[in-house]
């Protein structure tokens, strides 16, 4: 990685979610004594979020059979589930991390490894509509408007809607949006552009387009170490490589093996199985290959 993650603890093992190599880091990041323990802020009683789906309010609805409206409680879990799907997809070069403040806002960064935008490192934010999954498709906004036909040169928003004209629950998932955000940098589409200049240049003068892109990439990368645009503990931030901090973290990322949170030795969780793969008969595995 040419760009180094940093910005303290979070940017590496939490705020910086490399789904490709380190699946599951998010779930079970080892506690890291050198950085001290992260304690979740205590949540004042009685202001806590919905943990009471069976509240009379929702109750009446569910009982009457109207399940169309979901409590934020379900929304929370839906988003978590979406995030889980993202991790499972192992999207190349894409990292996301839900914000601390709202599960509806995800921070992300995308690394472009070849093509016109090679070496580009683009930070972005995903905004998910609050009526998810029944609303429109999530929005993707780049921190710095990248020079690209489908990226609004002012707001930095990527035109996602063209790919998801109608957001269909169960069929559309956020990982697809992320995947789309990656694809646009490899397959340039100039139809109905948000940045007409880029579109025209790409069609008419690729060389100029290319140089504009290189400039844009440079610009983006030069702002890499800036403070995150949105002040959030989980915002992704970069810092120059500092071996004292990052070497160990990197090592951890590569060696990390996830295990259950309260897994301890002596617990009978060895996962007994003597079924030969491909068979559905018990004890079909040969004796010698059995686990010792």
């Amino acid at each position: 990685m040419r760009s180094r993650a940093s910005g303290g603890d979070w940017s590496i093992h939490r705020g910086f979610q490399k789904t490709h190599e380190v699946t599951g880091v998010l779930q079970a990041s080892p506690s890291r004594p050198s950085f001290g323990k992260k304690q979740l802020p205590t949540i004042p009683k009685n202001t806590a979020p919905i943990t009471k789906p069976a509240s009379p309010a929702t109750t009446t609805q569910s009982i009457n059979g109207t399940h169309a409206s979901y409590g934020p409680f379900y929304l929370e879990y839906s988003l978590l589930a979406e995030f889980t799907l993202v991790i499972k997809q192992k999207l190349p070069g894409i990292y996301v991390q839900p914000s601390y403040k709202s599960a509806l806002m995800w921070f992300g960064v995308i690394f472009i490894r070849h093509g016109l935008y090679q070496d580009g490192v683009f930070k972005f934010t995903v905004y998910i509509p609050d009526n998810y999954p029944d609303g429109e498709c999530p929005r993707v906004v780049f921190d710095i408007p990248v020079f690209h036909p489908l990226v609004d040169p002012v707001s930095g928003e990527l035109d996602v809607r063209r790919a998801f004209t109608k957001w269909r629950r169960n069929h559309n998932h956020i990982w697809q949006v992320l995947m789309y955000a990656r694809t646009v940098f490899y397959k340039i589409n100039t139809m109905e552009p948000l940045n007409p200049e880029a579109a025209v240049l790409y069609d008419k003068d690729v060389q100029l387009f290319k140089s504009k892109v290189v400039e844009s990439v440079k610009l983006c990368n030069s702002h890499l170490f800036d403070q995150p645009k949105i002040d959030d503990p989980y915002a992704i931030s970069f810092s120059p490589w500092n071996p004292a901090v990052h070497d160990e973290a990197k090592e951890r990322m590569f060696t990390h093996k996830r295990r259950p949170e309260d897994h301890h030795k002596g617990l009978q969780v060895s996962g007994l199985s003597w079924v030969k793969p491909g068979s559905t008969q018990p004890f079909s595995k040969d004796e010698n290959s059995q686990q010792s």
Partner: protein
């Protein structure tokens, strides 16, 4: 005999006296010692060289005295300087060159070894080996005489007198300890056996084997010693082969289990209606069980450390020498008591065994071995449907089995029935892998919480208190209307769920305004892990368990998928392919093993119909088990049942009030009368039954009051304080042996045995018991029974009818009579299920003839679940616990079957949600007919909360298995509740404390519930009895409502957590 007097006081664990006694020679300089030694030796050798070995007793005394002095000097000698330990001290060198020991021993042998000298020699060698400062056994001059002596002990004509057994075992133990320190000795021992010993050249071994199953310290020392041999020989092919081929070690060990098993109590007599499994406290005082568990523990340990050859042989012997010939028949005994006992034993064994190879043997026995055509699993399955303690014990066993996360087991139990995917509509197969992404299933589960259970004890003010929206608006660039308050989600919930264990962030807690709250304004709940729910007021306590459930669900799913990560297939509806999956055994029609257990079957049938049979309301409702059989075309069951019905009609006994006596925290089960009825019912049936159990002698209706017969296992003898609990040792597999070995090595001459007190407690000792807990209720019940006894049969029958009528007016109409049940329609009114809006589409015509079948396990669990309203509290706790255990499994086939409420199943397949829906309707109907239901419900909740607090208060640091600590009432629904009371018995203070606590709560919670329920109970006469019966029915129903509500929350939480769980990669190495 100075040396004897010096040696005798030194028992195991008496090291201090030993060192002080021997400190004097130690101080002397080596040269003086050598001179003294030499001097003694000259005098001894003079005696030894006498022609006549059978010399005078003076000779003997002289030799003994001198030998004693010499060996003390030898033991005290420090090895020579120069490192490597190769340097012998001068005395040892002399002993080796002059072959001192061999000559002494041979002299003794020549003159004929009397027990006295034999004992003296044994002790002398033991002292020498145990205390020597330099390694001795490497030297042939020491080893050879030792083996000669041991050889003499092994000789048939001389042997080892009983009185010397302790010395012998202690010596052998010492030898093994030395050997474990210097494994080379093993080889020497193995090679240098006396020629005349022939094939039994590992003498120490054959001498130890007979002591394997001894109780007390001697047995423990022998087992420790053998374990050391096992560990040392683990890498020695020759020794391992010798043990496997030339010793009786494995057969003795395995068949010894059989012998020990046969002396176990046939009947487990534990008071406490919640009892369903043997905990350590239960069996610690039962000598025979302690003995058995010691041996089982030893087997486990041997399998852990021994050479694969030995391990394999032992495992085979356990299977063929214990499980098949002893355990199998035991599980098939005809009397309910024996079934209960053997099931509980099997459960205990399964929980105690930690070695995979041994577990495999047990599982293979359960899954594959056929006893009378049925696998053990089949037999065990049928017992879940029984209506007694047997059901609870069986459920307990299945809980244990499920906790093993064993693929083979799950395959046999459930998965093979789901594999062909015939239970889902063809179009739905793809949905098998879907998770509950949007909380739809969770919502469905929660929506089934009966209206009447949605009581909130919160003052209404609290409920409205929250702001309706986020305090803080998130700015999204280019957002249409930034001023619009953006309702969002409590992301902290997610973070809490996911990240509570991670380290790091120093960022300050966000200010209040970022604290999200529900836009829809539900009541609040504490979120922080630091605010365990028990700190909040009682009312809230009950209401706010959902987060706990989510956390539990996550933990459960995570552990389960971790445990299943090395399964052979994902079971996701594609792999293994549904098309190639072998057809599972068909539904019960052709599977006799599914026939309900006779007694219980008939019992339930008796209660299952409406109106026709007296007493139905007590076991009543729709007899779902009956329906199971009904689905099997009624077959011969119809006859059976009619006969039973007749029998019941004729000889009905007024067991009414006690029938559900297992219910509630109150009265203990009324085994007596229950059994009597079982017996009768059985009598009526047994002749006609086909398949299943062979017609057995009718169980003796043991209506006799419980007596503390020695044959019964009574609970609660006080464990001896110094007892090293085998179960605890077993529970930490890899450390056990290491620890044991290191202890052995650290404490020479002491062994483990020193601390181990023989486990033979007096089983009649009444230990600390907190039975006072249920005392009042028991008395109450006693009274009922007394009244019962005095009553004529007709009167009772009339009562039953009355109750029946009552229940008919209360319950949703059960359309079918008994016969209808059997003809297969199912007693369940269809309308009930359709009311839930969960109707499966009408079955298309032309379905394949063979109906999809989800297997006996699911069928029996669902049947039991459907009957929830009538089940006792503890049955429901166990039952729902098992179902949620099942729902933790990440395999999509199983997950979708249980938790995907959108899945469309084939019409003949009952879904969990359907079953729950019908329970919900029943609860609501019940509540509607009892105007004081809300009050009773609250009391029941309070009672359960109180119990769980007692549980929670017990932060026992002792070796109690890591039961789920219950932070809240949430946990009280779980199986650990049943263990709650039993658990305290190992600490008198805590037990007393807990008892007081519990009793206090009971008084103000549960007891008053009972008194409320039992009001008028003292009125006497028929109306009193009626009310008692009704009270039990009501009590079960009220507790059911509580458990049901919690269960739904648990299922909803599981559905949600499955959607956010991450699978573990396969074959990730399990150890760090």
């Amino acid at each position: 005999m100075s040396w004897l007097s010096r040696l005798t006081p030194r028992g195991p664990g008496n090291r201090s006296s030993r060192t002080s006694a021997l400190s004097s020679p130690c101080t002397a300089d080596p040269e003086t010692c050598l001179m003294v030694f030499d001097n003694h030796w000259r005098q001894v050798s003079w005696v030894l060289e006498q022609r006549d070995p059978s010399g005078s007793s003076d000779d003997l005394t002289a030799v003994r005295n001198h030998t004693d002095q010499m060996l003390c000097l030898l033991a005290e000698e420090r090895p020579g300087e120069g490192g490597e330990g190769a340097d012998m001290g001068p005395i040892l060198r002399l002993v080796v060159t002059e072959n001192v020991l061999e000559r002494v021993v041979q002299w003794h042998l020549r003159r004929g070894l009397d027990p006295d000298s034999q004992g003296a020699l044994l002790k002398l060698f033991e002292m020498l080996i145990g205390q020597s400062h330099q390694p001795l056994l490497q030297h042939k001059a020491v080893l050879q005489p030792l083996l000669s002596l041991l050889g003499a002990c092994a000789e048939p004509q001389l042997g080892c007198p009983l009185s010397l057994e302790n010395s012998l075992v202690l010596l052998l133990n010492q030898v093994c300890v030395s050997m474990a320190r210097a494994p080379a000795v093993l080889e020497l021992l193995f090679r240098t056996g006396p020629a005349q010993q022939g094939p039994t050249n590992l003498l120490i071994f054959s001498l130890l084997v007979p002591f394997i199953h001894r109780d007390g310290a001697i047995g423990q020392q022998a087992r420790d010693a053998l374990l050391l041999v096992m560990a040392t020989s683990a890498s020695n092919q020759g020794v391992a082969r010798y043990i496997a081929e030339n010793s009786y070690f494995c057969p003795v060990l395995a068949t010894g289990l059989s012998a020990l098993y046969s002396s176990l109590p046939r009947k487990i007599e534990v008071r406490g209606d919640d009892w369903h499994a043997l905990r350590r406290e239960d069996w610690m005082g039962v000598a025979s069980l302690v003995l058995f568990m010691n041996s089982l523990e030893f087997c486990n340990a041997v399998i852990q450390v021994a050479h694969p050859l030995v391990r394999g042989q032992l495992v085979d012997y356990v299977h063929n020498g214990f499980l098949v010939p002893v355990m199998g028949p035991a599980l098939h005994k005809s009397s309910v008591d024996e079934m209960i006992a053997s099931t509980a034993y099997l459960d205990l064994f399964l929980r105690s065994v930690t070695e995979t190879a041994l577990l495999k043997t047990f599982l293979r026995f359960i899954l594959v071995h056929r006893h009378d055509n049925d696998t053990i699993l089949d037999t065990l399955l049928t017992r879940i449907s029984s209506n007694s303690r047997l059901c609870m014990v069986s459920l307990g066993l299945f809980r244990t089995l499920l906790s093993l996360n064993c693929e083979d087991l799950m395959l046999q139990l459930v998965l093979r029935y789901l594999l062909p995917c015939t239970h889902v509509m063809l179009s739905q197969r793809r949905a098998v892998r879907e998770t509950d992404l949007y909380g739809k299933s969770a919502d469905k589960f929660l929506s089934l919480i009966p209206e009447c259970c949605r009581l909130s004890t919160l003052p209404p003010a609290d409920r409205e208190e929250e702001p309706a929206f986020w305090g803080k608006v998130l700015n999204s660039p280019g957002s249409e209307s930034p001023a619009h308050p953006k309702p969002s989600t409590p992301s902290r919930l997610a973070l809490f769920m996911r990240q509570q264990s991670t380290g790091g962030n120093s960022s300050t807690p966000p200010p209040m305004e970022t604290v999200p709250s529900s836009p829809r304004g539900g009541p609040s709940a504490p979120l922080s892990p630091d605010s365990p729910i028990h700190t909040v007021p009682e009312g809230l306590d009950w209401e706010s368990g959902y987060l706990e459930y989510l956390r539990d669900a996550r933990r459960g799913i995570e552990l389960c998928s971790w445990a299943c990560r090395n399964w052979s297939a994902p079971y996701d509806g594609e792999d293994p392919s549904p098309n190639t999956a072998p057809l599972p055994p068909p539904a019960p029609t052709s599977n006799p093993s599914l026939a309900m257990f006779p007694e219980h079957f008939s019992f339930q049938q008796g209660g299952g119909g409406s109106g026709t049979s007296p007493g139905q309301s007590l076991f009543n409702g729709t007899s779902s088990t009956g329906r199971e059989d009904g689905r099997a075309d009624g077959r011969d069951g119809g006859m059976e049942v009619k006969k039973v019905k007749r029998d019941l009609g004729e000889q009905w006994k007024p067991v009414g009030a006690e029938q559900n006596g297992t219910a509630g925290p109150g009265p203990p089960p009324a085994c007596g009368s229950l059994l009597a009825s079982y017996g009768e019912a059985n009598r009526g049936v047994s002749g006609e039954r086909s398949g299943g159990l062979p017609s057995q002698p009718v169980p003796v209706p043991s209506s006799a009051p419980r007596s503390s017969s020695p044959d019964m296992l009574t609970r609660a003898p006080d464990p001896s304080p110094g007892w090293g609990p085998p179960e605890e040792m077993l529970s930490s597999p890899s450390e056990v042996v290491e620890r044991l070995i290191s202890e052995l090595l650290d404490g020479p001459g002491q062994g483990e045995g020193g601390q181990i007190v023989p486990g033979g407690g007096d089983s009649n000792i009444q230990g600390i018991s907190i039975e006072a807990f249920t005392q009042e209720l028991r008395e109450l019940e006693e009274r009922v029974r007394d009244r019962d006894r005095g009553r004529g049969e007709g009167r009772a029958a009339r009562l039953q009818e009355d109750v029946t009528r009552d229940s008919l007016s209360e319950e949703p109409p059960t359309p079918s009579a008994l016969d209808a049940d059997l003809t297969g329609a199912g007693g369940e009114p269809r309308g009930e299920t359709s009311a839930m809006g969960l109707v499966s589409p009408a079955r298309p015509l032309g379905q394949p003839a063979s109906q999809p079948y989800t297997g006996p396990f699911m069928v029996v669990l669902f049947a039991k679940l459907e009957n929830m309203l009538q089940n006792s509290l503890y049955v429901n706790i166990l039952l729902t616990g098992i179902l949620s255990q099942l729902a933790c499994y990440p395999q999509p086939l199983l997950r979708s079957f249980l938790l995907n409420t959108n899945m469309v199943f084939q019409p003949s397949v009952k879904s969990l949600i359907q079953v729950l829906g019908s329970v919900k309707n029943r609860i609501e109907a019940f509540a509607a007919s009892h105007e004081d239901f809300p009050a009773m419900l609250r009391k029941a909740q309070r009672y359960l909360a109180a119990r769980s607090k007692v549980d929670w208060a017990d932060t026992s640091p002792m070796g109690v298995p890591p039961l789920r600590r219950s932070d809240s009432l949430v946990k009280s629904r779980k199986p650990s509740l049943g263990d709650l009371i039993l658990r305290h018995t190992n600490s008198p203070t805590r037990a007393r404390h807990a008892a007081q606590l519990a009793l206090a709560h009971v008084r103000d919670g549960g007891q008053s519930l009972h008194s409320a329920l039992f009001r008028g109970g003292s009125g006497g006469g028929a109306s009193g009895l009626e009310k008692q019966a009704e009270a039990l029915r009501v009590k079960n129903a009220v507790y059911c409502a509580v458990v049901f509500t919690e269960f739904l929350k648990e299922l909803a939480a599981l559905a949600q957590e499955h959607a956010v769980s991450m699978p573990f990669p396969k074959n990730q190495d399990p150890e760090e």
